[in-house]
Symmetry: C2
Subunit: 244 residues, 2 copies
Amino acid sequence: MPDSTVTANSRNQLLTSLLKLDQERLLPHLHQIDLLQGDVIYSAGDDIEVVYFPETTVVALLSTLEDGSTTEVGLIGREGMVGLSVFLGGAITPERAVVQVNGSALKMAAADLAQELRRGSPLQVQLLRYTRSFLALVTQSVICSQHHSLEARFARWLMMMRDYSGSNTLPLTHEMVAGMIGTRRAGVSMATRALRERGLIASSRGMIEIVDGEGLANAACECYAIIREEFAQLHNSQMNSRPT
Amino acid sequence: MPDSTVTANSRNQLLTSLLKLDQERLLPHLHQIDLLQGDVIYSAGDDIEVVYFPETTVVALLSTLEDGSTTEVGLIGREGMVGLSVFLGGAITPERAVVQVNGSALKMAAADLAQELRRGSPLQVQLLRYTRSFLALVTQSVICSQHHSLEARFARWLMMMRDYSGSNTLPLTHEMVAGMIGTRRAGVSMATRALRERGLIASSRGMIEIVDGEGLANAACECYAIIREEFAQLHNSQMNSRPT
DNA sequence: AAGATTCGGTACGCTAACGTACCACCAGTA
DNA sequence: TACTGGTGGTACGTTAGCGTACCGAATCTT
């Protein structure tokens, strides 16, 4: 597929919200790439040289402590960009970015993004909005990890993964999930059993399937609805500024 | 004191990092105000009509759950601005903002800020940088509240309050602290006793005093150093772009 | 000075989650 | 086919922190 169709067909909402004129200027700098689950896009402390606009892939930002324990602090899908730090005026990223769901993204050199922003691109406004939503997501995670039970957080996380990936079938080991929601592997196993016994999910080796989405949403903490609402608003504003 | 000296003398680092030219354009829109501990600047869901540039005051952003429990998600002092949402393209704030430390701030109508930004002010770059640091603060809080003990988080919080307020003597009730770090009042009382027995703090009714700052920093979780480093970098970049 | 209110110290039982460990099993590989 | 590493189920003792409650002391009010 020729590069010239990349942006027009892109499913990344930051890009599609731009005018044709602006999209075409970005085109030569964008390159499609397929990302695989487990790919490490950035390690903590890396210089960011490339940013990514997910189309169908989903990327997690992970924060790591001295003792090696990790927690996911944010998910990024087609509504956003991986490498926000560049936009926010920093060269390095404080978190690890790991691909959660196989899929496509468009990549772009950080320098090209910086130049595009310097010329006063409308992308600036879109990125500001996105930053707001992303900040809301992280903010909610603070109080969530403080006050909500493992099971409720797990349910929320599964629902969010479903929304981001568009699939009820998630190829995940308990170990991976544990690293995301910041608990032990054994804890995830127990939560999985609890949710399965309530008829909300099914699971097999390396695979979790959402059987009853509505029920799972109810099992999730309030944070799910709050975040969903925030990103629904972002989506609307992105679509509203989209060229016809 | 006449308004004309407000900006030049301001101790808000976002403002002092600007060129005289830009400062003078902002001047007519800035008004000094004294804030008192407990003042609620925004309630959750409020339309933001005014933003604040703290000079000596410290403001906390609080997130609240359905059951009424709260947790602080960020502190804002003279390095930043209260009302970031305006900058990020939103009109409403998702969190409550409450004054923690008596002091001065400069306030400005949100509309005036928006206009200033529309004209391509250098303030934009400063606010982007600040957003980056603030996001780093919130991000760290996610993993912190997930993995660190009450006592360590309490120690970190005290140290941050010391840094922000510039005073070792903090007028705080246990109840207030509990609302900040997201626990029970009784938990704060116990943590206070533990830290006092270690000779790190002293306390009396409505007052906590840091006796051994270095020791308290050691008692705090690693998050303290990480956040401190992030804001030290912000401070440097703010000072470097400051007019001579 | 008396009364009311806020604040802090402390205690009790309880539960979620931890760290760890062991085992069965499934899926590749030799 | 047997071996091996990754995965998930489950269990045990431990603990941090919860919810709640009660009381005395400090402070404010009148």
